[in-house]
Assembly symmetry: C2
Homo-oligomer: 403 residues x 2
């Protein structure tokens, strides 16, 4: 049974106060109590604890109905957080303050034809060195680092259990990364779907809701799920593999080894295949993934009928897949993100809204809102920085699962 303990509650109160300080920038204890619906006594305890740990400090005085009250904020000095987003073609390291401001970013290209773990690890290390150099800070100011890699990864052991894009099985990635990175802190490894979900919970479009689904559209596709404000990891951190639910029985081969998966139609290589089917001689067929998506955007801008048809087919597939999510989970919010979505959102959003409506049960459709995830920068690096913040809390004697 999952009976929740007093320490769970304590962690969740701390999470609520921290999140509120992050979103509001500055607040009095009274304002924190109102915003979090915690008691003023609880807020006072949590704030004292965070002040003792050096994570929260007083930045000014407010006055509420005659009572002077301190304005509190996250203490941004001196620690920094790093979030890294590793995908097939790049490793992006971003530097954040403790209050999750995006400060610097550095991207290293990865050769997607070389699947050696050492190559990927070297790319990550170069990206991290790059962002530290750009920020002109020394490695000992890094309080925590979170690194997202595709596929199934176990945060507890740091093992990449399976990464279909690289054909990795049981790669102990954390040990290799820690050896190469030469930081004073351990690495939190996770999956991009988990990262975008925590980013949406902490920094996304308004506070958490009953059931929230974040849809990541890129080379691979998948969803992150949060229910009642908590990340759904599944039994072995593998929940959200929506990209490998079946769209077409005995359909296109998928890199997971099965056939007809959503990803085989909606992921960028799947879109390339759709274009090749529609127009084998189209100039965009042979382009590399990011150039291909740029060509799709260009074609849509220029009213290329082939690109319009490609978009329609991709959106239709996407709508079938999202309709299933709506009917199975009855979410109140579906938020889209990912590099492919970012490049094509102007065209995707209006079509998709109508198409999902045709696939969803009426009652479930009535309560769901489909929207782009509005986070200033890469939600994967932001989410991994949030996991890194958790490590900082733990080392300050405040053990806490942030979600």
């Amino acid at each position: 049974m999952s009976t929740r303990s007093a320490s769970d509650i304590r962690n969740e109160s701390r999470f609520a106060v921290l999140r509120q300080l992050l979103t509001s920038g500055m607040a009095t204890r009274q304002q924190l109590a109102v915003a979090t619906t915690l008691s003023t006594a609880t807020v006072a305890n949590v704030v004292a604890e965070l002040q003792d740990a050096g994570l929260v400090h007083v930045v000014g005085k407010g006055a509420s109905v005659g009572r002077p009250s301190s304005k509190l904020a996250i203490n941004n000095e001196p620690l920094r957080l790093i979030g890294v987003d590793v995908a097939e073609t790049y490793a992006t390291a971003a530097l954040y303050s403790l209050s999750l401001e995006h400060l610097h970013e550095h991207t290293e290209p990865l050769d997607d034809t070389d699947n050696q773990p050492a190559t990927v690890v070297a790319g990550v290390a170069a990206a991290v060195r790059g962002v530290l150099a750009a920020a002109e800070i020394s490695p000992d100011r890094v309080g925590g680092i979170g690194i997202s890699v595709p596929g199934q990864v176990m945060p507890g052991t740091g093992v990449s259990v399976f990464a279909p894009n690289w054909d990795w099985h049981q790669v102990n990635l954390r040990d290799q990364l820690e050896a190469k990175l030469d930081l004073d802190v351990g690495v939190h490894l996770d999956n991009p779907l988990k990262a975008v979900t925590v980013a949406a919970l902490w920094l996304g479009n308004g506070p958490a809701t009953d059931t929230m689904v974040v849809v990541n559209l890129g080379t691979g596709v998948g969803v992150g799920i949060a229910i009642a404000g908590r990340l759904v990891r599944g039994t072995c951190n593998n929940a959200g593999e929506w990209g490998h639910t079946t769209l077409v029985q005995d359909g296109r081969p998928c890199r997971c080894g099965r056939r007809g998966c959503v990803e085989a139609y909606v992921g960028v290589p799947g879109m390339q295949l759709t274009l090749a089917e529609l127009a084998p001689d189209h100039s965009a067929v042979a382009l590399h993934q990011d150039e291909f998506i740029a060509a799709v955007a260009g074609g849509l801008d220029a009213a290329d009928p082939i690109m319009a048809e490609l978009l329609d087919r991709t959106c239709a597939s996407l709508a079938y897949g999202l309709g299933d999510v709506v009917n199975l989970l009855n979410p109140d919010r579906i938020m889209l993100c990912g590099w492919m979505f970012g490049a094509l959102r102007t065209w995707i959003m209006p079509r998709l809204t109508d198409l999902v409506a045709a696939q969803a049960l009426e009652a479930s459709l009535d309560v769901v809102s489909l929207q782009p995830l509005e986070i200033g920068r890469n939600p994967v690096t932001a989410g991994m920085a949030i996991f890194a913040l958790e490590d900082v809390l733990a080392r300050r004697g405040l053990p806490s699962r942030v979600v």
Copy 2:
């Protein structure tokens, strides 16, 4: 944000103690503390509260390492609970003790060609009168009643928002039921998927796990989901409509108004259609649903190749649908139930295990167990009796969401 309060914890502790007393029959405070992992102080508080409310009493003395200790049990007298399962063709009312022993049951047939709410309400009332007569008890001993109806229902308002089988929209069922039933207690209305899930949590195959999915196979099909021991309702109590996820794009018309839904292939009318496609002249084609399923079982027993093909096609469809659930939610346990499954489980289970394996991601497959839901009687009536127990707790001043 969903920050959990001290009263949530209190309710969950009460739930854990009650569930443990229900499953173990009799236990000392010390045994309850060990089994629930609650502190002995918490167990002592919760037990005192439940004793004050008359729900738990001392039934004997045990001795643990020299210390005498009272053996506790649920106080079964005098209240009874009723759980009602309403489906297209029947209304079954079952009577339970407060410790959820199944005492009596009465079924009224329903005419599935008459979709008037008054007809269904009359059938429910007759089933309830029938079970009270069989038990020879007066209506004032009924401490709570839960009634499950197909489709989307809102427990808070008692409205059947949409029932595709009856073509109901916004029917205020609770008012009509309460007027007709003439009991002293209010009616808890819910959906069979929610009922089977709480039944699995309280009475199913072992304690709750990380992510549990209960699959209900009958005229309609759907799943119930529990994560970390808590029922997933979705935003408007409509989570679990797996029967209306898409199996075949532009496939068979479904009674929900869409096409190609899982239910259109795996629900009993869908199986009837598959048989009609395979062998239009087969003697079972024109049978009523329950006779049809009996004929399928008989044909499989007699090695009828047409029925074997029908079973294979149905299991293949089921496996596609369940593979999607495994890949999306990464559950550790999938439990099957429902009247169709009950009749055909000997044939379904071995085929299904292999077929699901072909549809699931390896890592997610490794951790999931596919098994029949082992609850002695109808899990829908049992689940609705658990919701009724919640009403009893609330009236004793122990407000509690049982899951």
